[in-house]
Amino acid sequence: MKLHQVLLLSDSSSSLLPSLEKLFDSEPQIKIKFISPQKIYKTDFEESEFIILDYGYYLKNQTELKSVFNYLDKLSIFATLTNHQEMIEIIKATKVSHLFGMSGTHTLNDIKSYIVASIENKFWNSETLITAPVINKSLTSFSTSDHLDQQIETAIQTHDFSKTFEGFKLILIQILNEALTNALYNAPVDEKGNFLYRNQNRRKIITTDVKNAPTLEIVEDEEKIILSVKDYYGSLTKEIIDHYLTEGKVSDKDGGAGLGMYLILNHAHKLIINLDPGKLTEFIIVLHKFKRFFHYETLEKSYHLYQRKLS
């Protein structure tokens, strides 16, 4: 069995390490070793399969740690985030693909799930993310952009928003409008990889065959709702994500305004982007259901980008 080494860089490693190790008791199929040395050597970066960096720790040790960003493919960051702007600034500055908002037990469980999914070459999906009994589930296909908002309202009508604040449903519709518009207009490519509708005026209706139509799966438990928007082209790349995810400025290009991913990131509690190049792009947006907007706004946020060839 291969030994997977995880390098944890944090002032709190003495308390975090035992808790993380304990979580792996339930994964006997994975042999894992956590290290958190007092002095960091380049070999620690190279020999570790995962580097988990406390952003506060990085800010105190920037000179010593600046080369950690040469290992972006194995790096994840956790940070105490009080608002979306802080999250956006960290992603923008570091180009990291995994950022965990720190909140005690939840975060450690998420870090464990991330490590397991990476080792097993799987994506996070709604099954990974659901932590309580499912109370509702739906699946809708969108083969046309015509009356998209009405289609979205129909898709969500069986889900119950009575225990959420008034604007929650509107936020959900906003997120789905952006994600599905991207899936319908920006995703489709021809056999040579040329984008078919990316530069098209968004007033022009797109109709696609059912086989390639993007889908929306909604899974709901008592505390959260998980939206999964998939397109079956897999044309989104990390370069495009790096350009638009944290920009927040209107683009003058033809086609879309260049704000969709940024708006989704700003609204989501958890945003997961799964990329299987040439096959699939999936946006998973997790929203926790709260009666009070204040609780919704102050819940920790996280962001994850997985790039895999699954087949």
Binding site: D149, Q174, T181, N201, R202, G256, K291, E297
Partner: protein, 161 residues
């Protein structure tokens, strides 16, 4: 009154030579066409946004283009701005331009004793040092305090522009 319909968006326009009142209803999205609004010229335009349900990314772009078309010298006011639009103004720089101000807007409050939320219309002039005003209400003869239900620094960010 003049009504302009563009897809899911409707604008009702009335007013005088000096001031136009524009009630915006529905979704501000890609259906917004500036070429249908080129006759809207006035030194002052007041937009009532209370009935705006949503503004998506294309709508943000088209609205910014519309405001740019109107020019820097026109004085713009937004009244009755709903929470979903306030959130977008706080997220996207450029949505609230220098020649525009938000005069009144809705903010979330919560009545702990009744476990109930309320959208309260606030005047921007009543926000001092980015602190939410204290609101009390009387329901069926009982007085209640309302808690401001957002993070003040974030919710009032648009007032700093």
């Amino acid at each position: 009154m003049n009504t302009i319909e563009m897809g899911q968006l409707t604008l009702n326009i009335e007013g005088t030579e000096d001031t136009l009142f524009v009630t915006v209803m529905g979704s501000i999205n890609e259906d917004l066409q500036i070429e249908k609004l080129t006759h809207l010229t006035s030194p002052k335009i007041i937009f009532d946004l209370e009935q705006v349900k949503m503004i998506n990314s294309c709508g943000i772009r088209e609205w910014i283009r519309f405001i740019e078309f109107l020019g820097n010298t026109v004085h713009l006011e937004y009244i009755n701005v709903p929470q979903i639009v306030i959130q977008q103004m706080n997220m996207i720089s450029g949505l609230l331009t220098k020649n525009a101000k938000v005069t009144s807007f809705f903010a979330p409050y919560f009545i702990e004793d009744l476990d109930e939320e309320k959208q309260i219309l606030l005047n921007s002039a009543d926000i001092v040092n980015f602190k939410a005003p204290v609101i009390n209400t009387n329901i069926d003869g009982t007085d209640y305090n309302l808690d401001f239900d957002a993070i003040e620094e974030q919710y009032f960010k648009f007032l700093k522009r």
